[in-house]
Amino acid sequence: MTRVVGRQGRVTGRIGPGLVGEVMVPIRGGVEAFYAYPSIPDEEILVGSIVVVVEYSPPRTVYVARAVV
């Protein structure tokens, strides 16, 4: 079973408080879009940032944090 948590993804929709962001995560041989929320409350992550999936909430929701590059 493939897992989403721990994977890196790219933000395609702005993540922030009061917003539903979007990240593209490579998984199952393809790339899927997930609804994204910040794992740290009130954190804002702009489009194009690299994030790490911290938590996965089926079916399509992930919580992400900034990837330390």
């Binding site: 079973m1 702005r14 917003l19 539903v20 879009a33 609804y35 079916p59 399509r60």
Partner: protein, 502 residues
Amino acid sequence: MPTEIVVVGGVAIVAVIVLILLFKAIWRVAEPNEALIISGLGAHTKNELADSLGFKIVTGKGTAVLPGFQTARRLRLDSRATNLQVNCVTQQGIPVQVRGVIIYKVGDDFTSIANAARRFLDQQDSMNGAIHELFTGHLRSIIGNLTVEDLILNRERLTSETRSSAADEMSKLGLVVDSLQIQEIEDETGYITNLGKPHAAKIAAAARIAEAQRDQEATEAEQVAAAKKASAIRESQIQQAGYQAEVDQAAAKARQAGPLSEATARQEVVVQETRAAELEAQLAEQRLQSQVRKPADAKAYETVTLSQAERDARIAQAEAEARETELRAAAQASQVKQAAAADAESVRVRGEAAAAATKATGLGEAEAAKARGLAEAEAAKAKGLAEAEAAKAKGLAEAEAIRARSEALRENQEAVIAQQLAENWPQIVEAGSKAFGNVDHMVVLNGAQGIEEMLAKALTLGGTGLGLARSLLAGGTPAAPSVNGAVPPAEPVAKNAVDGAS
């Protein structure tokens, strides 16, 4: 033996065929765009979420389905699209009609497939209707949160709003929205049109300005080019005209060359013709000379010669006659003269004798008169010595003769007159012939004899004058006895008589 083999072989083949058919009946393969939903005996997944539902989801591989105990259904995971048409109001309260399209699919994870399978497995075709209804409402709310400008320009805002409003419900349905596109916004109030108008006007103004400026520049360039072109054309035309003039000049020269040479040739012809005409004229002249003039000259010469000869003969005859007449007249005159001379001599001799006598007698008177007139003579001499001298020189002999004649007159008047006539005879004859001098042509009918008669008549006329003279003299003789004063008046009278006779 062979039959057994055949039977065994046949059985084996049938068994293989049966096995293949069995496998075919049992084995199901999930294609990449679908998920097999297997339910029935022993069908369950490891997924704890799907566990309770009691069905197995297979994607991307094959699995055995026991006929009669299990059923396998296929759920298509394809992308689907549905059209939306919504009449709604924007955030600013502007009514718009929006047409859009939403592209969605069943989520690839087992949770989404399970959710979708439970909702749409038997009614996959009605999925579009449900999504349409769902998204009509969502779109209305989404647009209600947006302005027209956002709708047109802010794409991220649109997708963000779409996610915000539809994420949870789509998750419930196991669906994922790939894309939501607004295809068309119909604006009844003309808001969008008006929105663009300032920009359109600005752009139009800029375009017009630019166009005008470029047009101006282009026109200027065109005019400059036209001016240069006209200048070039003018230069070209001037040059062309110059060349054309040269060409025309040459052509005119060439054209004139023909007539000129023709005229020259004709001139030479005319010269030759003139020469020929002159020669012909000369020929004609020569011919005339030889045929007409020479004979005429000859005839004229003949006539002239004959006339001259005749004239000469006539002249000679006339001269001879005149000479004859003259000679005859001279002879007669000589004859008369000699006779008169003889008379005069005799008279003179007698006169001398008488004079000697008279001299002797009147010597004393003469001396007295001499003494008396001496003083007078002296006075006269002093008064007109030169005149007297001239008169003396001129008429000394005459005086002498007159004196002698005056003396003789007393003795013999006849003789004196005869003598005087004899002396003046030539003048008389001349005066007589003067009567003929005024006659241009005298036709003498009887030739020389006629002339003689005429002269004789003239002389007779003179003779008549002679008689008249004689009578006059006879009348005047007693009145002039003096030596000095009486004689001179007698002479003019005699002369007058002679003139009157002529």
